[in-house]
Symmetry: C2
Subunit: 124 residues, 2 copies
């Protein structure tokens, strides 16, 4: 298991949301052919489908404010990351969100194998 | 990858919180020697340490109300699960929570390899 898992996860989170908020098309290199994303319950497979979804999201301004980042090592050297935060889009009030990533290393770069995103909206 | 990943994840979630809420010492068989838990930022390794933590949680009544469950298959046959829900303890107001599990199968039973839990509390 990767002893640097916490540093890897935290640096990834910082980088991911910075790129997402400034120019989300720049996230493309982080997704690969086998990457899976579940975005608000919609399942997407592969970098192309995922990037189409992210780029088509209907807001102009976006800011992720991270509240907590928790990381764990995985047996194959990957890193499991759970983020809780707030999402501010355009002039809407902030929404809580939860996002989980599985990061894998291809030998020289980290990429996102698994990505699950939910806005935190409770009915009760 | 396990084609039943969604069913496995959802059945697990239903079972896990039912046992947690009724008699949380009954969760012990779900954790194993290599299991990892990050509970509100505290890292625990192994079934014994995890169960000590869960049993010592300072509430008498607890109810998990699940809002969303998202599952993805993993390359080794495991299942990645992200839960968003609300936690009601004793007579306190409900708190949002986010919990991520990695489930693995030992050949006959599913167990929790990774468990990350956070109450959703934003400072802004």
């Amino acid at each position: 298991m990767n002893p640097q898992f916490d540093q890897v996860g935290r640096q990834f989170v910082e980088f991911y949301y910075k790129v997402f908020d400034e120019n989300r098309s720049g996230l493309a290199p982080l997704y690969r052919q086998p990457s899976m994303m579940t975005f608000e319950g919609v399942q997407l497979i592969g970098a192309e489908a995922i990037m189409q979804k992210l780029i088509a999201l209907p807001f102009q301004k976006v800011q992720h404010v991270v509240t907590t980042v928790d990381c764990q090592p995985m047996l194959d050297g990957g890193v499991l990351v759970m983020v809780v935060g707030q999402l501010k889009t355009d002039d809407d009030p902030p929404h809580g969100f939860s996002q989980t990533f599985v990061l894998k290393n291809d030998g020289s770069n980290w990429f996102i194998f698994s990505d699950l995103f939910r806005l935190v909206v409770h009915s009760v």
